[in-house]
Structures are given as structure tokens and as C-alpha cells.
Amino acid sequence: MVRPVSEGPPLPALTCAYAAIGVADIRMAARDEDSSSAGGASDKELARRLDRLSRDLEEEKRERATRERPARKSDSTDFALALRLASEFVAGILVGVALGWGLDRVAGTSPWGLIGFLLLGFGAGVLNVIRSAGNMSTTAGAGDGKQD
């Protein structure tokens, strides 16, 4: 941006900016003419510039990837985290109770099916909680880690 140094009316500032752009255009055109007359050297120069640009882009991409990861973690609030863990745990126990109760109804093994599957369901609930808590601490890493 071109800013007027003195506090003047906006019109002179605008013309000043146009003048600056004009000068830059003329300079650029002059440089283009120079390089076109040089011929082979400009090709090498262009290749070098392209190389440098793509290297910069690569670096920028990598930097952005590392920068975005920690930011994503703070998306979920602690409130949602607590609710999620609680529901994971309860769901495991519910499945255990449902399976055990169903087995007792079908096979007539009351109450042993309910007792056994309730314990297994408890284990499944704990496993769920551990797994989702682990997922939370490495939310971004989960994608790469699980692909093996």
C-alpha cells in the first residue's frame, strides 16, 4: 500500500498510488525486455526461480501441517469430552446387560449369563473409554497411525 506521508485530501493520495503502480509497471516491462534479449540465461534463471518457489511452497505446506495440528485439539470443550467418555462407558455396560439378559432368556441360564456378560461389558466399557481418550490426545495423529 502506498500511503501519503502528509495529511492531504484523498485525491492526491490516489494519484500518487497510481503513479507508483505506473512506475513499477514500467520497471517490470524494462526488466522483461532485458531478459528476453539475454535469451538462454533467462531460461536458466527461470528454472532456478521455479525451483526456489516450489521449495518455498513445500516448506510452507509442511509448516502449515505442523501448525494446524495442535489448533484442532482445542476444538472440543471439556464438557463434551466428559459426556463422550461417560456415554462410551455406559454403552459398553448396556451391551453386556442386553447380551447377558438375552442369553438367559433364550438358554435359561439365569442368572449366570447376566453376571458373566455384565463383567465383560464392564471390560468393554473401560476399553471404549481408554480408546477414545487415547484418540483425543492424538486426534490428528490417529489418521496416520492407523493406516499401517
Partner: protein, 252 residues
């Protein structure tokens, strides 16, 4: 005004058009169905309007649509890899449906579709069935490797497999219960605190002064509910991505 404030009343289903019983099931066009049609209409309208411009420099609506696309696409790529992008249409539809349902439910007199467990269970069972069917279709019996963690001694295997299977079976339950319970509990809390204002204001000036407290609470809860509405849609979608990742890469 009603004598008694009923916080459950907002979740009642009303029949608008009754089709009678078809095959032993009572079929009717309810307020829930109406709001689902509204949600689908809003999403379709929004995306059609947003993408009709094809502007290189996006306007407001196109920008919103692009943000929602990139949000879901990044989420899917991060948790299921680039292969997961084949499920993008499904995950995007689920996310937008849940998001619009949750946010529409915040408006007064509107019905919250996701506060009924039938809807959320239907969604999560669809997701789990998709995971199971696609997992077997793509990986064959290797999909069962999901239930057999590596490095477990043989004598512990039956126990571990049983626990893993139950952990898998608990996924649709926790997925549906979380969304449903969040929406139901949030709306009931909001209604109860709002009804305190009514009750207190019936007591004259002292009541009016006291009613400031539940009023402040209601305002704060409304903000919290807006957050929860978005967050639950996000959680629902990201868990869908994680489960789809299991279907794509079942090895532990």
C-alpha cells in the same frame, strides 16, 4: 397461561396427516417428519443457492458452503485418509442433517428432531451397518481382524475377542445416546430455568428481582446450547469418520 409448566411437552409428536395402519404399523405424517422435510429443504436450498454462482471469488453463501465442504473433507481425510474421501457424500449429508436439526431446534416453538432416540439410533445403525457391509465387501474375512488385537497370548484370546466384539456393538448405542441425551437434556434444562422466571414473576416485585437470576442462567444456557448443537454434530461426524476408517483399514 397453563397452570403447570411441562418441560416435556415440547417433545410431543403430533400427527398432521394420518395414513392409518399399513402392515401393522401406524403411519402418519408428524411434526417430526415435517421438520425433517424442512431440514432437507433448507440444506438443499442453501447448497443450490450457494453453488449457483460459480464465482472465482466466493460471495457470502458460496464462502459458507466452501467452508462446510472443507471442514468435513479435512475431518474425513485426517481420520480415514484420502481413501476415506469416497464416503464424503455420506459423511457430509449426515453432518449437515444433524447440524441443521440441532440448530433449528434452538428456535422457539420449533421441534428438535434429534431429541428423539428413534432418529439418532436410525442414523447410527445406518452408519454401523455401512461399516460392517463395506468392511466385509472390501477386506473379506480380514475385516474380522478388527476384533483380534496383535500380541495377545493365546489363552487370553477368547476373553479379549469377546470384549472387542462388545466394544464394537456398543458403538451405535453410544453414538445415538450421546446425541439424543445432549439435545433432550439441554432443552429440558432450558425450559425448566425459563419456567422459574414465570413462577417467580407471579410473586410481585420481590419475585421480579429474584427472576433476574434464572433469566441470566437462561441466557447463558442458550449460548451453551448453541455451542452444544454444533459440537454434537461435529462429534457425530468425526466418530462416523473413525468408524469408517475401521472399515477401510481393519488391522489394529
Amino acid at each position: 397461561m397453563e397452570d403447570r409448566v411441562d418441560p416435556i411437552h415440547q417433545f410431543q409428536i403430533h400427527n398432521y396427516v394420518d395414513f392409518g395402519t399399513i402392515g401393522g404399523v401406524h403411519i402418519a405424517f408428524t411434526n417430526s417428519a415435517l421438520f425433517m422435510f424442512i431440514i432437507i429443504g433448507l440444506i438443499t436450498g442453501f447448497l443450490t443457492l450457494a453453488t449457483s454462482g460459480h464465482a472465482l471469488v466466493p460471495g457470502r453463501f458460496q464462502s459458507l458452503a466452501e467452508i462446510s465442504y472443507e471442514f468435513v473433507a479435512n475431518m474425513l481425510r485426517e481420520s480415514a485418509g484420502t481413501e476415506g474421501m469416497r464416503f464424503f457424500p455420506f459423511v457430509f449429508s449426515v453432518f449437515m442433517f444433524v447440524l441443521f436439526a440441532n440448530v433449528l431446534g434452538l428456535f422457539p416453538y420449533f421441534f428438535t428432531v434429534t431429541s428423539h432416540i428413534v432418529i439418532t439410533a436410525g442414523l447410527s445403525v445406518t452408519i454401523i451397518l455401512l461399516v460392517i457391509i463395506y468392511g466385509f465387501y472390501r477386506n473379506g474375512l480380514h475385516f474380522l481382524g478388527l476384533f483380534v488385537p496383535k500380541g495377545v497370548p493365546g489363552y487370553l484370546m477368547p476373553l479379549v475377542v469377546a470384549i472387542e466384539v462388545m466394544s464394537f456393538l456398543s458403538r451405535p448405542i453410544s453414538l445415538s445416546v450421546r446425541l439424543f441425551a445432549n439435545m433432550l437434556a439441554g432443552h429440558i434444562t432450558l425450559k425448566v430455568f425459563a419456567s422459574f422466571i414465570l413462577m417467580l414473576s407471579a410473586w410481585g416485585v420481590a419475585g421480579w428481582l429474584g427472576a433476574v437470576l434464572p433469566f441470566a442462567m437462561t441466557v447463558a444456557l442458550t449460548a451453551l446450547e448453541a455451542l452444544v448443537a454444533f459440537l454434537q454434530a461435529y462429534v457425530f461426524a468425526i466418530l462416523t469418520c473413525m468408524y469408517l476408517n475401521d472399515a477401510l483399514h481393519p488391522s489394529h
